[in-house]
């Protein structure tokens, strides 16, 4: 089982499941210098290239200028607030995915943020693993993996049109929700997917269900797709979430 620590130390890889980490160029726009430094350092530690801007105008200039894969934008910024910055960027035709960080964590704030052109929204305080997972998903979204009709991980195959799932020769019967859960995991194969991300994307809930209901759903799914196979595909990343990945590769 991979652990939270492995995420923090990508270079000390073990043989087990690791995120398919491709180096990303990230821009952190955050007025709290400590928080910005922390993020830049943390991103660099996991192997990404990260820059920081501390106000809205600098942030916009850098975002327009540099070739960034994902922007991490604080909502409240001096000179130009986060939503206005994203708005200006989109108006200039820049489609760089943007994740909004905000101390205002309620549902309507999220809706406002996403409506303003943000691609994801993370309320403060957040855990770095959650942020990292989301940023990686955003970066990957550009590649267009979501368009494929058949998703494959190892010998697990999910057909999005016929709604059939096979592992090797064996057909696996899934409940509709289990199917969507697996579909989401497979769309992000090789990436860490957090519980919150699953709750948001598979169940469309943005609240905290207190008890970790997602874990039980995952273990059900796991018993269906991994039971009886020597090579597990669905991995728990401790302290972060889950990842589906062909470990034998």
């Amino acid at each position: 089982m991979a652990t939270y620590a492995d995420i923090q130390r990508p270079f000390g890889r073990t043989a087990e499941a690791q995120p398919d980490r491709v180096t990303m160029r990230l821009l952190v726009i955050e007025d709290d210098r400590d928080a910005a430094d922390y993020l830049v350092k943390a991103f660099r530690e996991v192997g990404h290239v990260a820059d920081a801007a501390t106000d809205g105008d600098d942030g916009l200039a850098m975002a327009l200028d540099g070739q960034y894969d994902v922007l991490i934008v604080d909502r409240m910024l001096p000179k130009r607030d986060g939503l206005a910055l994203i708005g200006a960027l989109r108006a200039k035709g820049m489609e760089t995915p943007a994740l909004i960080l905000s101390a205002l964590g309620q549902v309507d704030d999220r809706v406002k943020g996403l409506r303003a052109g943000g691609d994801d929204y993370l309320p403060k305080p957040y855990s770095f693993s959650e942020l990292l997972a989301r940023v990686e998903v955003l970066a990957r979204r550009r590649v267009g993996r979501t368009e494929e009709t058949v998703l494959r991980v190892g010998n697990l195959e999910l057909d999005r049109l016929s709604h059939q799932v096979h592992r090797g020769e064996e057909e696996i019967t899934l409940q509709p929700r289990e199917f969507r859960l697996l579909e989401y995991l497979m769309q992000h194969a090789g990436q860490v997917v957090t519980r919150t991300m699953l709750l948001e994307n598979v169940w469309d809930y943005h609240f905290d269900p207190q008890t970790n209901v997602i874990d039980v759903h995952i273990s059900r799914l796991r018993s269906k797709i991994d039971k009886g196979f020597s090579q597990p595909l669905l991995h728990t990343i401790r302290g972060a979430g889950y990842m589906i990945r062909d470990g034998a590769r």
Partner: protein, 473 residues
């Protein structure tokens, strides 16, 4: 502001002034109308009498010539009274009558004139004031002139009496009105001042103060009663707030202390990386719990302040029941509880979908947490039933379990923030689940009630179908 200035500025006093003005104007109009009409009536009577006498006298002249006229006029003129007579030659020489000192030229204009005069028996000018009279000069055939008139003093006197009565009554109206107005105003002002004084005390922080109620049931009393009710509500809210902050302090301090102790412990006695790692991991876990509690608190605060009211949409509560049931079913099964959803008929509802889902999720979560794997009374498996149904103009979302339930005495208490019954202290959770569900229900103009499920707990969220009633303005 002086006391008097304050008095004059009050609404009551201003109203008094307005009423007083209107009433005085009306009285003046009424009396003026009366006086003028009386005067006109008297004038008409005078002209009628004078006309009749002239007709009579000219008849005498026609019958007996000037000689007879003079005799008749002389006789009439000697009678006491207000009638005036004068017969003159064409040249103006007086032949008979009781009038003198007519202004020159009076006799040259036949017809009606108002004129000053003196009675013949009054003697020379200067001794008595001049009188006023309404006279008619009549040209008799043969060059003689006849003047008949009536003294106007009586008319004027009456007119003046009415006028002065009018003046006096208006003056009295104004004086009495002002006095009454001041009296009423002062009474009202005194009560308002008492209220103001009380509100000042309350503003200074003594929330226990209440406005004085005179017990007369008037509008000021009603106002005071309502304000008192409001104060009671505010006091209750403040009390609740204080309790909440105490609870927050307690419930957040405990994990914070634990967190700090653990970090300290690791620093002090940590020997290797594994130990440090373990300490850090538990620190993160603990802070995640704290964040969770904070978020729940914020959510409740938002729901209670009504801010989330913007995000209302129409949806099917039955669908939510199925969704939440589906979300929690594996968890329930893992604990040996059968979770069933009974929501076949659609239950359309207007509200905040996310919040209502969360409220229902909290109730289900709660039931799962406290449900015992075995139904102790019937011996069957523990079960939870989630229902969504329409009842009149309300939608009911219920979660019924076969757990230990909540003693009736504690039911209203557990809805409060952070309240967890002693026996459940060992269970994980923030103790905010039911409070949040209750806040969400109230946000939608509904309520959360807890009932006995014989055995177990039945939590009911009752919501008005059309969403919360918007308060105007």
């Amino acid at each position: 502001m002086t006391a008097l200035g304050k008095l004059f500025r009050t609404t009551t006093f201003k109203l008094t002034l307005v009423y007083l003005t209107v009433f005085a104007l009306f009285a003046a109009f009424l009396l003026g109308y009366f006086a003028l009409n009386t005067r006109r009536l008297i004038t008409e009577q005078i002209t009628d009498t004078v006309n009749a006498e002239i007709t009579g006298l000219s008849e005498q002249y026609r019958i007996g010539g000037i000689r007879r006229l003079v005799v008749v006029v002389d006789a009439r003129a000697r009678r006491p009274g207000s009638s005036l007579y004068l017969v003159t030659t064409f040249a103006g020489e007086s032949l008979a009558g009781n009038v003198t000192s007519l202004p020159p030229g009076t006799l040259d204009n036949p017809g009606w004139t108002e004129t000053g005069y003196r009675r013949l028996d009054e003697g020379e000018a200067g001794e008595h004031p001049e009188h006023h009279a309404l006279v008619r000069v009549f040209q008799l055939p043969g060059g003689f002139r006849l003047l008949v008139g009536r003294d106007l003093d009586e008319r004027e006197r009456l007119y003046n009496i009415v006028l002065s009565a009018g003046r006096w009554s208006i003056a009295i109206v104004i004086v009495l009105g002002l006095a009454g107005g001041l009296f009423v105003t002062r009474r009202v002002l005194r009560r308002v001042d008492a209220m103001t004084e009380t509100t000042r005390t309350i503003m200074r922080g003594d929330l226990g103060g209440r406005l004085p109620v005179a017990g007369t049931g008037d509008e000021l009393d009603r106002l005071a009663e309502n304000l008192n009710l409001m104060l009671e509500r505010i006091e209750a809210l403040m009390h609740g707030l204080k309790e909440v902050s105490d609870n927050i302090a307690h419930d957040l301090k405990t994990p914070l202390t634990r967190l700090r102790n653990r970090a300290e412990q690791a620093l002090r006695s940590g020997k290797n990386e594994t130990e440090y790692r373990a300490a850090l991991e538990s620190t993160i876990e603990e802070s995640d719990g704290l964040i969770r509690t904070f978020n729940a608190l914020l959510m409740i605060a938002r729901a209670e302040s009504g801010q989330a009211r913007d995000n209302m949409s129409e949806f099917d509560a039955a669908e939510i029941a199925h969704d939440i049931g589906e979300l929690y079913e594996p968890l329930a099964e893992e604990k040996g509880i059968a979770l069933k959803v009974e929501a076949d008929a659609p239950a359309p509802l207007k509200g905040n979908r996310e919040l209502i889902s969360q409220a229902l999720a909290n109730l289900v979560d709660n039931s799962i947490k406290y449900a015992e794997p075995r139904d102790s009374i019937n011996g069957g498996p523990a079960q939870i039933i989630v229902r969504a149904l329409s009842e009149g103009d309300r939608i009911l979302l219920t979660v019924a379990d076969s757990g230990p339930g909540i003693p009736e005495a504690d039911r209203s208490r557990v809805v409060e923030r952070f309240v967890r019954l002693e026996q459940s202290r060992s269970q994980p959770g923030s103790g905010l689940g039911l409070s949040l569900a209750s806040a969400v229900a109230r946000l939608h103009g509904g309520e959360l009630t807890l009932a006995d499920n014989h055995p177990g707990l039945k939590s009911i969220i009752a919501l008005p179908r059309g969403g919360p009633v918007q308060i105007a303005g």
